[in-house]
Subunit: 334 residues, 2 copies
DNA sequence: ATTTAAAATGGTTACGTATTCATTTTGAAG
DNA sequence: CTTCAAAATGAATACGTAACCATTTTAAAT
């Protein structure tokens, strides 16, 4: 591998001068600069970013610990995060983390001495949070937050759950089911709470049979759907913990011969890009500003990195209903 | 930052021994090992991957230069590539490259001395190809290939184009349009050629008005759609260069009040995951094996990296029609 | 006890860069 | 022609690790 020393030798200058040519060319005389540039060109020299990181104690790298891309929410956020980071001069190490590989994911991030960590995969009660704080690396969580309520960007999840239930109630639905994710996750937890609150406020009955807070795998969602549809009094509406779940349920509903929204209303939360597609037109709840949560988070993170700010980021975006085609007024009693 | 030297001092051993504890613990006595492990734990020591890279001349990092995620093809491939790489112990630097940022993307990959490069964004006639070969870094292209015909993984694009046209023809369509991407890209180019060949083989007339090989932006696709629908003899079928384009066209068609497949048949190429969704059910052409192209490519790349093989990878997967719900037999002449 | 090979550990160096400090060169003012 | 500050360049070092070679310790065989 050709190094700056090789370039120096070839150009007849010191390695220091080569370094200067690349970093502070205004301090080197024109003829010298030309000589060095010529040598760089002739030798096809490319500086080694790792060596630079070592001496500068800065890697210009950010670790992204995201959920899997089959969840369209993470498609939108990953895209925004990577593009913004690159624009700002940072490389992004991406890992799609499932729960049992989480420690590993943190380890690689730490070993690479990244300048910052942006992550969605954190539980309300996650011991990793303390470690993260100890590490003294700027970090931020998006979509989810830790119980300590520090450094997060989210939508108003409680309100989102509330609005989605209210939406169904106002459409005349009496039997409303909930399909959400693990309650160990702040977003699902708060969305579910909001849902419950609305049901309570409107004095609707609610039996446990209609509640599923399961793993978010396609498999589990299908199971939940089948259970719901086998009930004597089928729900006429399903509120879901995320667009991703709603999309899965829609798929199930269709393959089982149910018509949405004629037989069944379904609403999501997140307002992911794909939900707007003409063929999908998912009714959902999302940020009023329609700002991408990932973008919001990464811009805050880079701000933290570059300005060494230590003040806690706490952003909760207000939400509203995006009324589309998977929900409708109920006409006749079942 | 706490280094292995600090650990050594704290444990009363040499830095060499600390290094051994981490890399070849079988060569260090139990009591010493315990002492060092204790020190590591107490000091919260985490080895510096960049320093290691420097001395080992291996970064365990792969650069992924992908197309944008709003193209679902890249959702599927990115996911597969990152997951497989991580499983195999590699970190992945992801960049979503648009054409004018390409040189920059290569530069960062080179500066980081990645162990390998996996990329989709290469043109048939791209000068970067020679540079890549000169760099002596293992690399592979997926989906697209360079005219030199080296190191690629693709589907049989010509056949894909051919089959999609043939599918429409056999359904009785006479006026078939083509909406594809830039012909500077091998996949689009070959798909288009296949389409043309089928039209020719079946002796169908084809006017230039029905052909669009445009930029793949949503904007451009919409423009193409409007042009097609304004024609005196509207096409009854559109063959597209990719599922991504087909999905855009479907969106346009719906928002313009056309019914698919009643008014218009649309077929894609790629068989992306989302095309199977119950609400979409896109008829498309895809690899018979249904192997993810990204996975195929990344496994070959890592093979190249680890076994220092230099033999050229040339994989072209055979394809077939996946007949779903966006195409149908034409009933009556328009 | 002595020898000896194997096991365990340590000292030193290299990786490629930026930085710090010292030295040389330049050119304008006297 | 000097003087001297400013501009330009260079020498030496540090960053944190693995690798190489040298040295010490251990334990088995005589």
């Amino acid at each position: 591998m050709v190094s700056s020393k090789d370039v120096a030798k070839h150009a007849g200058v010191s390695q220091t001068t080569v370094s200067r040519v690349l970093n502070t060319p205004e301090f080197v005389k024109k003829p010298t600069l030309d000589k060095v540039m010529k040598a760089i060109d002739e030798l096809n020299y490319i500086p080694n970013a790792h060596a630079r990181s070592l001496v500068q104690n800065k890697t210009n790298t950010i670790a992204l610990l995201s959920g899997p891309l089959h969840n369209p929410f993470f498609v939108d956020t990953t895209s925004a995060i990577i593009n913004y980071s690159n624009e700002m001069g940072y490389r992004v190490n991406v890992q799609y983390v499932n729960d049992h590989k989480l420690p590993e994911a943190y380890a690689t991030a730490f070993e690479n001495k990244v300048d910052g960590i942006i992550l969605s995969c954190i539980l309300i009660d996650d011991p990793i949070f303390e470690k993260l704080k100890q590490m003294d690396i700027p970090f931020i969580t998006y979509n989810r937050k830790h119980k300590k309520n520090e450094n997060f960007v989210e939508i108003d999840n409680f309100q989102a759950g509330y609005l989605s239930a209210q939406h169904m109630i106002e459409l005349g639905h009496k039997t409303i089911a909930w399909v959400g994710g693990p309650l160990t996750v702040s977003s699902f937890n708060n969305r579910y709470s909001g849902f419950l609150q609305a049901i309570k406020d409107y004095n609707l009955p609610l039996s446990e049979q209609y509640i599923f807070n399961t793993d978010t795998s396609k498999q589990e969602i299908s199971t939940a759907f089948h259970c719901l549809m086998k009930l004597k009094h089928r729900p006429t509406a399903i509120c879901t913990g995320a667009d991703s779940l709603a999309l899965n349920l829609l798929d199930d509903a269709i393959s089982e011969g149910f018509k949405v929204p004629d037989d069944l209303s379904i609403i999501g939360i997140d307002n992911v890009d794909i939900s707007q597609h003409g063929l999908i037109q998912l009714t959902t709840v999302g940020s009023i500003s329609q700002q991408n949560l990932g973008l919001l988070a990464i811009s805050e993170l880079i701000e933290m990195i570059e300005n060494k700010k230590n003040d806690c980021i706490k952003i909760t975006e207000p939400v509203k209903i995006f009324n589309r085609r998977t929900t409708r007024k109920i006409e006749n009693k079942q």
